[in-house]
């Protein structure tokens, strides 16, 4: 080969390398977590993410984990910072985080976990072909709104009213994603549905206190950044005020919530890490389909039930995938 050809081909060859270089651990992967730094759940998920990267061909990939907490301002700030650092891939956990980064860049690939209806949110064109720089894994689906009501009703047959605790992070154009099936099912079951939108932790107590006061109400805690951050608080309130509550986020059932019905995010995060790996290897996020969860776990906390004086039927227990005692 002539030297000229070699020299001419050099830039092309070098240009072709960065992808390979990305796989060598020089790539910059940033992750945005809706947890406070040091939060155990956050740590478990982040670890799962790292493990996922490790298992999918990036054993030495360093991840720039950013902990936003539930604070929207802080989220926006960190997201801006993150995008400015021009990472190769951004991982966003939950809708609020995705929203924050998605607004800032159309180039940097973003892999999300948890945006329930990314098409309606406008993050992707379609599930099978996202078409842009965003792809990922959904955790929840709208019909679960009905499922939660049904579960609550089955646990507490005397239930007459149910409040869906909503917050802006789970809303699309002012409407909670789960509200529609929630209302439909509630109506079918003869239950009075209420969707309460709250913005701050302080707003929680009045809602639960109101339900407790009425005595025949139940609470559905929709997923989202707000719930992640204030779940423990809600658990404490519902337990102390004896309001039967069903959580979308499974860990709150373990922490004292009566029940939870939702997917296991650890596994999903792990699979999302695989997507990150594939993007690092040069795949286009536009062609990676958005995947939906296949399995939802029903967890019942019998301890809480007993303390609340709720008797869980055997039929319900039979449905439970996990029982906390």
């Amino acid at each position: 080969m002539r030297r000229r050809t070699v020299l001419a081909g050099l830039p092309v060859a070098l240009a072709g390398w960065p992808r390979a270089a990305l796989a060598q651990g020089q790539a910059h992967v940033a992750a945005l977590w809706p947890f406070a730094e040091g939060d155990p759940e956050g740590r478990v998920l982040a670890e799962s993410f790292h493990a996922g990267l490790r298992d999918h061909g990036h054993p030495d990939q360093r991840v720039d984990d950013r902990w936003t907490g539930a604070d929207r301002e802080r989220t926006r700030l960190l997201a801006t910072e993150l995008v400015a650092a021009q990472p190769h891939v951004i991982f966003a956990y939950l809708s609020a985080q995705l929203t924050a980064v998605a607004a800032l860049t159309k180039q940097i690939p973003i892999v999300f976990v948890g945006a329930s209806n990314p098409v309606r949110f406008g993050f992707v064109e379609s599930l099978q072909r996202p078409g842009g720089n965003i792809t990922g894994f959904t955790l929840y689906e709208a019909p679960l709104g009905g499922k939660w009501v049904a579960a609550l009703r089955e646990a507490v047959p005397s239930l007459r009213r149910v409040t869906l605790l909503s917050n802006p992070s789970t809303e699309i154009r002012g409407e909670n994603l789960y509200a529609e099936p929630f209302r439909t099912t509630a109506a079918a079951l003869g239950i009075e549905p209420a969707v309460v939108k709250i913005d701050t932790a302080a707003d929680i107590e009045p809602v639960i206190a109101d339900l407790a006061r009425r005595g025949d109400g139940g609470l559905i805690v929709a997923p989202g950044t707000f719930s992640e951050a204030n779940g423990d608080h809600i658990v404490a309130l519902t337990t102390s005020l004896r309001v039967p509550a069903v959580f979308a986020i499974r860990r709150f059932a373990y922490r004292g919530g009566l029940m939870s019905y939702g997917p296991d995010p650890v596994e999903t995060v792990r699979r999302a890490a695989a997507y990150v790996g594939r993007i690092l290897r040069g795949e286009n996020p536009a062609t990676l389909p958005v995947q939906a969860p296949t399995k939802f776990d029903f967890i019942v906390n019998l301890k809480t039930a007993r303390s609340m004086g709720v008797t869980i039927s055997s039929a319900l227990l039979a449905q439970a995938d996990e029982i906390v005692e």
């Binding site: 099978q128 689906e141 499922k147 079951l189 062609t287 995947q291 939906a292 296949t294 449905q319």
Partner: protein, 680 residues
């Protein structure tokens, strides 16, 4: 040895094609390597083809087996779902409480993660119960499914696998309905998330990097180790291997075998169908993996081939060199021979035909060399003979020319002499007569008285007259002598020839000459050296003639020594040597003086008649001419002269013992010839 002319190169023919211009080694090597390579290549190609076909067949067979195994596993997945559903299709299930039914369904969902929703349709096709992972459970919704395939087909076929559909355009789902047992059965309908076949498909190992995937009968991908391909709604009907597998394809039932895979690259593909769902399970393995053994064999064969060609090249070159080196040697040898160098020999020790050829060359060369040598010797001999002949011829020719010249001169001289002799006789006779008449006149006048004066005057006149007449007589006699000599010249012999003792003849002549010379000139002095060969013996000669010749030569010699002595060289000792030698058939007589010698200009003409170096009146110029005549013409001998001016002159006379020409002398001599001219 004379160098033969180098052999001319044969005329150049039309130049042969370039290939033929290769040196022999090249041709040989090319031919050898080409042949071996060809054989190897053919062998390799056949081997390769067979091996390749074999390996391909084996690989494809393996792939087919794998495809069937994969299909069985996918089928087993369906069967497991069917059997799990079957748990709710017992005949008595219809009669259990709705709570129990729901409980069973929930259990079913838990046990079969692929099932996302399960419903019970009563015998009338109305939905009595629906349990879903996502939706709230529906009890006795009463929805009518009696006309839908999921009901009718299930009743007809017991189990019905619905077409694959895609939830939200992405996730593949399939409806599975199983009719219950017993009379008047209901139907359990399950929605199966086919994403979970992933577990099955990704667990199928096809070689190291190969994998299995499943498509519908239309080529829509429903299971693939890369789930995202499935979710992306991938239609594979365009892929050749899938296209041929699809029902309705021209090549249905055949495997495409080698093709490009989904993600490019060559793959070996095989497929198997799952008839009850019309799915096609494909297995594909990269060609490299599948054909690993074949590739190895190819590499092996190729490397063996390469090794073979290399060996052939080495052997070819070696053999070509082995062959060409002696041929070059032969060529050089032949060139040397051609150039005439026959002394060297070609040394080749190959023990084959070339060595034999070299031997032949050598033999040829030595033959040629021998021939040359013989030829040269012969040529030399002939040349010598020819030169000899030429010399003889030339000598004979010159003798002949001389003889002819002298003969004609002799005749001329004889004629002239004869004509002069008559008037000369008159002159001489009348002069004598007149002399006598003068005496008579005196006697007559004696008695007469004359006055004294007159008498004195008469006496004086008579005396003068007498004196004149004596002079006439004297000079007439001289003229007569010349004429006589001239007449002698013209005759070939005189007297009788007889065997004569050569030494005695020579001695006699020498004495005669010496005493003659002494008589003519009292102060003459010369040293005589005699060297007679006792073996000189007899020779048949005309002794008078030979004596004349010898006298002539000797008196010439005396004249020469005298002349040189007159030059006043103080240490000069005049010498005349005479020698005889026996030469077998002839006798050689040498007369040598150490006189003035003869200059070259004279030497050429000295045998010519009338040529003389002596002052006018001293010689007639006929002495040597006559001598030559006598020796050569009369006796058939030779006369040679060796001389060096100022040093010596040697006449060498050769006389044959028996070769006197029978010719008679033209004019008989009345008196022995005496050399007058050389006598001082």
């Amino acid at each position: 040895m004379t160098a033969p002319r180098p052999l001319a190169a044969p005329p150049a023919a039309t130049p042969p094609p370039r290939w033929f211009r290769l040196p022999l080694a090249g041709k040989f090597a090319v031919a050898f390597v080409g042949l071996v390579s060809l054989v190897l290549l053919i062998n390799g190609a056949v081997d390769l083809t067979l091996n390749y076909q074999d390996a391909k067949r084996t690989a494809i067979e393996t792939q087919r087996t794998k495809a069937r195994a994969a299909a069985e596993r996918v089928d087993a997945f369906l069967s497991s779902i069917e059997s799990q559903i079957g748990w709710t299709t017992r005949a008595e299930w219809r009669r259990v409480s709705p709570e129990q039914q729901r409980y069973d369904f929930i259990r079913l969902l838990r046990q079969a993660p692929a099932i996302t929703e399960v419903a019970y349709l009563d015998p009338a096709g109305k939905e009595q119960l629906r349990v879903s992972r996502l939706e709230p459970d529906a009890v006795a919704s009463g929805k009518d499914f009696s006309t839908t395939p999921r009901f009718t087909q299930a009743l007809a076929q017991k189990t019905w696998f619905g077409p694959v559909y895609f939830r939200r355009g992405s996730e593949p789902y399939m409806t599975v309905s199983v009719a219950h047992a017993g009379r008047d059965p209901g139907v359990t309908v399950a929605e199966v998330n086919l994403k979970l076949i992933w577990d099955v498909v990704s667990a199928i190992n096809v070689g190291e990097h190969g994998y299995a995937f499943v498509t519908t009968a239309t080529g829509r991908l429903i299971a693939h180790p890369d789930l995202s391909l499935v979710l992306r709604d991938t239609d594979l009907s365009g892929l050749p291997e899938v296209a041929v597998a699809l029902p309705g394809s021209r090549m249905a039932g055949q495997d495409y075998e080698i093709t490009t895979g989904i993600d490019g690259g060559w793959v070996l593909a095989a497929h198997a169908t799952i008839p009850r769902v019309d799915w096609i399970v494909f297995v594909q393995e990269s060609l490299r993996d599948a054909m690993g053994p074949a590739l190895e064999s190819v590499i092996q064969t190729t490397s063996l081939m390469g090794l073979g060609v290399l060996l052939a090249a080495v052997a070819g070159t070696f053999l070509a060199r082995r062959m060409v080196v002696p041929i070059r040697e032969l060529e050089n040898g032949a060139e040397r021979f051609g150039a005439g160098d026959l002394s060297e020999r070609i040394v080749i020790r190959t023990g084959d035909e070339i060595e034999t050829l070299a031997h032949r060359f050598n033999t040829m060369a030595s033959r040629v060399q021998d021939s040359y040598e013989t030829l040269e010797a012969k040529v030399e001999e002939r040349t010598r003979d020819l030169n000899q002949s030429l010399d003889d011829l030339q000598r004979a020719q010159s003798r002949l020319v001389q003889s002819e010249k002298l003969a004609s001169l002799g005749q001329l001289t004889a004629g002239i002499a004869h004509e002069i002799k008559n008037p000369l006789n008159f002159v001489n006779n009348f002069a004598s007569l007149s002399n006598e008449l003068v005496d008579e006149l005196r006697e007559v006048l004696e008695p007469t008285a004359l006055d004294p004066d007159t008498r004195a005057e008469v006496e004086e006149l008579a005396g003068l007259l007498k004196g004149n007449l004596e002079k006439v007589v004297q000079h007439g006699k001289r003229a007569d002598s010349i004429v006589k000599n001239m007449l002698l010249h013209s005759r070939t012999g005189s007297g009788e020839h007889r065997p004569v003792e050569v030494n005695a003849l020579v001695e006699e002549s020498l004495n005669l000459a010496y005493h003659g010379a002494r008589a003519a000139k009292p102060g003459f002095n010369v040293t005589l050296v005699r060297d007679y060969d006792p073996a000189a013996g007899l020779a048949d000669l005309y002794p008078q003639e030979i004596t004349r010749v010898l006298l002539n030569l000797m008196s010439n010699g005396f004249y020469a020594t005298e002349k040189r002595a007159a030059e006043g060289d103080p240490g000069y000792e005049p010498t005349l040597s005479v020698a005889t030698r026996d030469r077998g058939d002839s006798v050689e007589v040498r007369v040598r003086d150490n006189g003035t010698g003869i200059p070259d200009s004279v030497k050429a003409k000295m045998f010519d008649p009338f040529f003389t170096t002596k002052p006018a009146g001293e010689g007639t110029g006929l002495g040597l001419s006559l001598s030559h005549d006598i020796l050569v013409k009369q006796h058939g001998g030779t006369v040679d002269v060796a001389t060096e001016p100022g040093a010596f002159t040697e006449f060498i006379i050769t006389l044959p013992r028996q070769s006197v020409t029978p010719a008679a002398p033209p004019q008989p001599a009345t008196e022995p010839a005496t050399e007058t001219e050389s006598q001082p």
